[in-house]
């Protein structure tokens, strides 16, 4: 039953997953294609900026400004937004659409449903990030970038875990309330506030406070240079587990809608 729900969910989300992954891969490829010609001009521009500002706009990334923009802005925002929207709709969305009425009368528990749906979400995030990684890796080879497949895999893994943490929060709020709008609003609000916190506080000399933001653990350890940071991934894993456990407890205590 678990496998069947997982299969169904994956099929339901195949198109948006493929489109977003493909778009990110194409964007990454084009980004690296133009970064060669833009590189020297942008490097001289970012060299004159304060270090914190350069970091803020991603100018200090290996591969230069364009890679930085892709890794600090485009890909994480796309993955987090996708994770939140999909997570909010996974359980609560079925209640809003009314399909939960038939689904929850099948021989499957609410908790199995929630877990299967969470797994399907992780799977789709991995697929999107995998396509993105593929695009970046091919582009790095074609355009002779200093980026390696391993470094890109480390960076992509951090991004997947960042998105998974926010998606889990959205999924949990949706499972606890049955209200997808509230779920996406809560998780989306948290994502925006924590992003601004992570990006702005270092500019104000408050780097320590930026550690409160999940975004700090996405790229703060510079995975493109240093590889995977298990402790930072552990923070995401902890957020995900806490959110899921809260969702699993809450979903069993309430009335289902729809």
């Amino acid at each position: 039953m678990f496998a069947e729900v997982l299969r169904h969910e994956s099929r339901q989300r195949a198109v948006p997953t493929g489109v977003l992954g493909g778009t990110l891969a194409a964007f990454a490829f084009l980004g690296l294609a133009v970064s060669g010609s833009l590189g020297s001009a942008l490097d001289s521009l970012t060299a004159s900026m304060p270090e914190a500002l350069t970091a803020f706009i991603g100018g200090d990334s290996p591969g230069g400004y364009v890679v930085g923009e892709i890794f600090t802005l485009v890909a994480p925002i796309a993955l987090v937004a996708y994770g939140i929207i999909a997570g909010a709709g996974l359980f609560a969305g079925e209640e809003r659409e009314g399909t939960m009425a038939v689904l929850s009368a099948q021989p499957v528990t609410r908790r199995s449903l929630l877990l299967a749906k969470a797994c399907s979400l992780l799977l789709s995030l991995v697929v999107i990030a995998g396509l993105f990684w593929g695009g970046m890796t091919v582009a790095a080879l074609v355009f002779d970038s200093e980026l390696t497949a391993g470094a890109l895999a480390a960076g992509s893994t951090h991004l997947v875990m960042l998105a998974l943490a926010f998606a889990a929060v959205a999924l949990a709020v949706g499972a606890a309330t049955g209200r997808p709008e509230l779920a996406s609003g809560t998780a989306g609000g948290l994502a925006v506030i924590s992003y601004l916190t992570s990006a702005m506080l270092p500019l104000a000399g408050l780097e320590q406070w930026a550690r409160l933001s999940p975004w700090h653990y996405a790229l703060g350890s510079d995975p493109l240079r240093n590889g995977i940071d298990p402790s930072h991934l552990g923070v995401f894993a902890a957020i995900t587990v806490v959110a899921l456990v809260a969702g699993l407890v809450a979903v069993n205590r309430r009335d289902l809608k729809g």
């Binding site: 339901q12 009425a101 099948q106 021989p107």
Partner: protein, 352 residues
């Protein structure tokens, strides 16, 4: 005069209600045996200040078709959703197939089939994909039986659900409920969108389920749908179970109607004092009579004059149903025979 009588009758009716709703137990039905398939005790659901279902005590035996009737918002779907563990009762308990709702709901779901009142399916899946999904979730579905059901209901499984008409979508929902030959079918307003021919087929399917010793819990707001197939009927009103009765018994108690046409105008008081007459509207040569019990006294009173035409209507549960659900009737539920006159004043002269 009539106001006084009506008031007395309402009081009498209310005192009847104090003794609890009229009941017919599953054991009184031929063939019903063993533990109840559905048994609720004091089942109550409160939404903030609104009590959707109050102290519901219900017992349904194996092998019967039980009609669960009430207008929209009476608490039918809330009751069903509590039986399915989709809603958690505020108080009371329920057992389905001798298993406790809540702790044993996984096993209950395995053994029941359900179609919700407002059916929604996945619009991007075809009928086949939808049924395959639910069949795999169940794991004990004979696909040839699915195809047989689809053929019987003339359901097109090839199209996407989003492109279906309401009736076709409903057919997919019905196949989904029947396909694993469940011991209990819980059907919430299942006739929605089905044309009359399909309704006949659907009723045949219900009778086959009963013949196989399985049970049907059929909710509806239309009595005519249910009286054709149900053995017993429970009527719920404002969250309270008003009556549980055999369908034939309810029909016997029903207010029936006779329309007379005379060859010349008749006196307005010609049915006054006639036994069983609950209401008489007399307008020149036409008389419309509502009565209960034997028709003999009515006919004898009418045949004093020359009758040129007579139209009778079959006993119809609709009469009872309307009597229970008229918006102006008192809040306390009352037995059907009394309610018709106590709470449903009609235009025209009233005869007592």
């Amino acid at each position: 005069m009539s106001d006084e009588v009506e008031s007395d009758e309402v009081d009498a009716a209310a005192s009847d209600v104090d003794r609890g709703p009229v009941r017919t137990t599953p054991e009184e039905l031929q063939g019903a045996s063993g533990p109840a398939v559905i048994a609720t005790a004091g089942l109550t659901k409160q939404f903030k200040d609104f009590t959707a279902v109050e102290e519901l005590d219900l017992e349904i035996g194996r092998g019967e078709i039980f009609g669960f009737l009430g207008p929209n918002g009476a608490g039918k779907s809330t009751t069903i959703r509590m039986l399915l563990d989709q809603l958690r009762p505020s108080s009371g308990s329920a057992r389905v197939l001798d298993l406790e709702v809540g702790p044993d709901s996984l096993e209950i779901h395995r053994r029941i089939g359900y179609i919700p009142g407002d059916l929604a399916l996945y619009p991007k899946l075809t009928g086949t994909q939808t049924l395959q999904y639910f069949a795999r979730l169940r794991g004990n579905v004979d696909w040839s039986y699915v195809l047989e059901l689809a053929e019987r209901l003339e359901a097109d499984l090839g199209k996407k659900v989003g492109d279906y008409s309401t009736g076709n979508r409903q057919k997919i929902g019905l196949i989904q409920a029947f396909m694993h030959r469940p011991e209990l079918l819980i059907l919430d307003e299942p006739n929605a969108g089905l044309d009359p021919l399909m309704q006949q087929t659907f009723h045949e399917m219900l009778r086959e389920v009963r013949a196989a010793g399985r049970t049907v819990f059929l909710s509806s707001h239309t009595l005519s749908e249910v009286e054709r197939v149900a053995d017993r009927v429970g009527i719920i009103r404002r969250g309270k179970l008003v009556v549980v009765e055999r369908v034939d018994e309810l029909k016997r108690k029903a207010i029936r109607r006779l329309d007379f046409e005379f060859d010349q105008p008749v006196p307005a008081d010609m049915f006054e004092g006639v036994a069983g007459v609950r209401d008489a509207e007399i307008d020149g040569v036409h008389a419309r009579i509502a009565y209960e019990g034997s028709v003999n006294d009515v006919l004898q009173a009418a045949l004093v004059h020359e009758v040129t035409n007579l139209h009778s209507r079959d006993a119809d549960l609709e009469e009872i149903f309307l009597a229970f659900y008229r918006s102006d009737d008192p809040p306390a539920p009352v037995p059907p025979a009394r309610t018709a006159t106590a709470s449903a004043p009609r235009a025209g002269r009233r005869v007592r």
